[in-house]
Symmetry: C2
Subunit: 303 residues, 2 copies
Amino acid sequence: MRTAGRLMSLMEDDAARAAEVARAVQPHAGQAHVIGVTGPAGAGKSTLLNALAGRLHQQHRRLGIVAVDPSSPFNGGALLGDRIRLQERFGADGPFIRSMSSRGHNQGLARAAFGVVELMDAMGYPMVALETVGAGQNAIDALRIADTVLLVLAPGLGDAVQAMKAGLLELADVVVMNKADRAEAEEAARDLRASLAGHPTPEGWAVPVLTASAAREQGIDQLLTTLDAHRTHLAASGAGDLRRRRAAVAAIEAVLADRLADTVRRLRPAVEDLAPRVAERTLDPFAAAEALLRQAGIRDNWA
Amino acid sequence: MRTAGRLMSLMEDDAARAAEVARAVQPHAGQAHVIGVTGPAGAGKSTLLNALAGRLHQQHRRLGIVAVDPSSPFNGGALLGDRIRLQERFGADGPFIRSMSSRGHNQGLARAAFGVVELMDAMGYPMVALETVGAGQNAIDALRIADTVLLVLAPGLGDAVQAMKAGLLELADVVVMNKADRAEAEEAARDLRASLAGHPTPEGWAVPVLTASAAREQGIDQLLTTLDAHRTHLAASGAGDLRRRRAAVAAIEAVLADRLADTVRRLRPAVEDLAPRVAERTLDPFAAAEALLRQAGIRDNWA
């Protein structure tokens, strides 16, 4: 476990060593069911994953959780406390949890998250959940490495309709209306079912809208059965191969983005040199950037 | 106004045309007081800016507002409704409001936001507020173009302490504890004052912690006076020049990041070609990315 944690830190902090780890790990990975978990803040994603981890534990299956919070360090504290309680509950047999926030390495975050999912896969976790907070482009990008996308909503957040607009609903393979103890939950789920009816995925999967109360551990069995059923569908329909190819594109692009962001960091001293002229408005930022890219030998690849 | 809107759309959508606009606009900008507004979701940033716009309107000063939501399209609807009400209230003399979300162009967002702030500056708005939601790296980066950083908090969010941890407090020049009608507001403000006491900024500015109730339009006069005082301090201490240089670095880096992200997009067909081998685990994503960078002639600039 401590070795795994150290390897994960390498994955996060050191791009060059991450490449070595990725190479070594790759032949052992590819067996896990990777679940991308998304939804608005406050929907109860973490609590739901905790309940899911408990159910899996009873079945002697272990859950890996990679929690990525690309937008807000404000949630970090609460999340962490939650996770410590979870690990106390199950001990060494419990879920493996890795939290990442974006402070200071926004670009490398996707690359690091993908690496950590791969590592948990290679460690033999049969299910790995990649939990992202928020619904920005970062979250959507992260979902591209999942076999199954789970959208978690809750009644009264006014978010179901917003989620649709944000395009998350069209990415979802399974939708859970959490906090089903609330009166409006069943109606919210019904509305969603009505709007999804007759719109199966291109692969012929009718997106189910479940209800659950993660806090009361209700609806978790059905959720697990449904996630397993989606995996079976992916294998039977051939859609799984397409998903894995999409995941490969996402992983390559994450590494590319990380490498290019590194260029920006390396150019920092040169940027500082040009900054006074931009501040005095004798040079505009676009012209400054052009000059720097040319200087770094990158210019000719643009157009 | 319609011309301005069209120029802003260019700034957002078309990097090449944005460079032309930036060049044309630059000589006319540099006069506005740029306020970076940050704080957790739910603190009432938008309502506070609306109240500030009203106060400025009475003084025949107009406020430009650039609202950037890098993390969550979930807030988009509410924000928009708010803004329409604001424009109805003041009519053509009211604040100029431009909302941006990150959907689809995560990278270009910072570059576009800086461009729109510059444009409002050149249009003669004496004060331009750049409002960012969340506290991730995107938000922190955006604050770098501000002359004055305004941190908006509210009691009962449990966020004051978190904000400190997140490093936002150390970026703040002015802190407002909003929702001061709540009983805990005064105490929360006192706690913050105590923790800030004796820690002036490196430039010798003691960060004030104000209270306000944006919804009741209370405390807005004092906020405006304080923002003006910070600007005076920047000019008198010479700190303003340093800030402008920092803003220039941020603007150049935003353009660089945008250009490099464009490289990733251009490499997409080549990424798709390599994806099957990564999916089959005969090639790892790092090796794939290396090969692509070499192929694009960029490789030699790394190492």
